[in-house]
């Protein structure tokens, strides 16, 4: 009896969470005006790609999609290299001032974006990077949270492994590339998901750093569209589906790593 109650509660609340998303997908396949008829309809009377066609042809959303994809992939790739190098060095090398430096860098995590966004904007404007991809790639090149995650993970790799590789004549780079990287693969995947999703969903910074609609990332383009097409929910839903699709695919395929990463960060942090 208690079990049934528990399951029905979980299922109902799960549906409440999922319902808006199901409706979003459903409304994106409706004709103009069909999402707001009364009584409300959960499924389209007539299935149409009208809204998606409008997005791609009339509103040129392809460009925004590619902007988001390009920036997210580049930021994820580069930051993974920089973060893993630094994280490994902080975990496995002995050098002067290591702990002091690491703690100093770690404490910079408390500096909120509201303090740095303005001067960062002014700096990048000075360099002529505002309204270019560089403006979005540069601030994401590396981050201390990623370095911290990789350091924690690398600490658990036994020193003897590194020592024996060195005895076999491996160079520092070979050890990093051929031994540490493969062993740290789970945490690298986790970090890659965090970075990809974070960059893809970022809103405030792209809003500040980009001012031309052809340069917008997808969320900024969508918010902009919202201003012009408030009375067009079907179109907005199609845009929303497009915006969450890549993130959703990454999440569903790599869920295990993502959830583990969150739990790990929480237990150790």
């Amino acid at each position: 009896m208690k079990k049934y109650l528990l399951y029905s509660f979980l299922i109902v609340s799960g549906l409440i969470t999922l319902a808006p998303f199901i409706w979003m997908v459903s409304a994106s396949f409706m004709h103009d005006g069909h999402a707001s008829v009364y009584p409300p309809r959960f499924f389209p009377d007539e299935f149409t790609f009208e809204q998606y066609i409008a997005l791609f042809s009339r509103l040129n959303i392809t460009r925004n999609f590619l902007n988001s994809l390009f920036i997210s992939v580049i930021v994820t790739g580069i930051s993974l290299i920089f973060n893993s190098m630094a994280g490994y060095a902080f975990a496995k090398y002995r050098f002067k001032g290591k702990n002091k430096l690491f703690n100093l860098l770690l404490s910079s995590m408390i500096i909120p974006a509201q303090v740095t966004m303005l001067p960062l904007f002014l700096m990048l404007k000075e360099f002529g990077f505002i309204n270019t991809y560089m403006a979005l790639i540069i601030p994401g090149l590396a981050n201390i949270f990623g370095i911290f995650l990789i350091r924690q993970y690398a600490l658990s790799i036994p020193d003897s492994l590194i020592e024996s590789a060195r005895l076999d004549g491996a160079t520092d780079f070979q050890i990093y590339y051929k031994i540490i990287m493969p062993l740290a693969l789970p945490i690298l995947v986790t970090l890659a998901i965090f970075t990809f999703m974070g960059t893809w969903n970022d809103f405030l910074w792209p809003l500040i750093a980009l001012n031309d609609s052809s340069m917008y990332t997808l969320p900024v383009a969508l918010a902009n569209l919202m201003g012009e097409h408030t009375k067009d929910p079907e179109l907005m839903m199609a845009g929303s589906v497009l915006t969450i699709l890549p993130v959703l695919i990454v999440f569903l395929v790599l869920q295990k790593y993502y959830i583990k990463g969150i739990m790990m960060g929480s237990v150790k942090g």
Binding site: P20, Y38, L105, L122, M123, L141, I208, M226, F251, S266
Partner: protein, 285 residues
Amino acid sequence: MKKTKLTPYLMILPYVIFFITFISFPVIFSFILMFHKWNIIAPMQFIGLSNFYHLFHDSLFFKSLLNTLIFLIVHIPLQIIIALFFAVMLNQKIRFIGFFRAAYFLPVIVSGVVVTILWQQLYGFESGMLNRFLSAFGIAKVGWLEDSNLAMMSIAIMATWKNVGLYIILFLAGLQTVPNYLYEAADLEGATSWQKFRYITLPMINPTVFMVVILSTIGGFSLFIEPYVMTGGGPLNSTLSAVLYIYKQGFFFYHMGYASTLGFFFAGIILVVIVIQKKFVERDA
């Protein structure tokens, strides 16, 4: 461990350069800007402490702080209670646990813009789902986003729906660290479920509670997307969050010096609130 002289320095060099150029320098620059007036076009002008004087007389900024505070007061307790409740529910032998976890987690990974657009469909006054549902029962329509007393509350509920999945996962991780023998011992003593929760579970997961409070405080203070997309700060500035106000000062009016002052002041408030929370939670433990 190996004592190579140069290699480790080379490996951390990219981040150190990044740190100096894109974190330290902006902080210093921002600090200098606090004492200046600058609209980017005209040359920077030193004005001493005028920006601070302006800040303490800026009633709209204090309104935005108050709004953010209202948001936090609704959002954080709601979030913790719901997340903890679900985590306790899920922390037993349940089939399809992966499915439930993923379902609750879905809103967390979705862009805030999308969540806001979705909820706008729910909150709409004339054609919103919620009001239609209410009218079907003969209840008067509610101005979820039109009523200035209610708008921030509506945003807080939406934000809770979006983030609660993350905190469910964090609480689940915390619950799994509670050793089973404590519950078994309590069972022998004849403790009720509530007593077990109150005297075993809660004290044991105190570190997790602390972390959740801190994370949702930091997240709540950075409230921006929802009011920006949904209400633009209205009605009557009732959903103007502090970050939205700083953004407007900096990137709408180009008051660079003043926006820096606001940013620093706001960061200071966040820090003070977190220190107080830390004291409070640690004493409680």
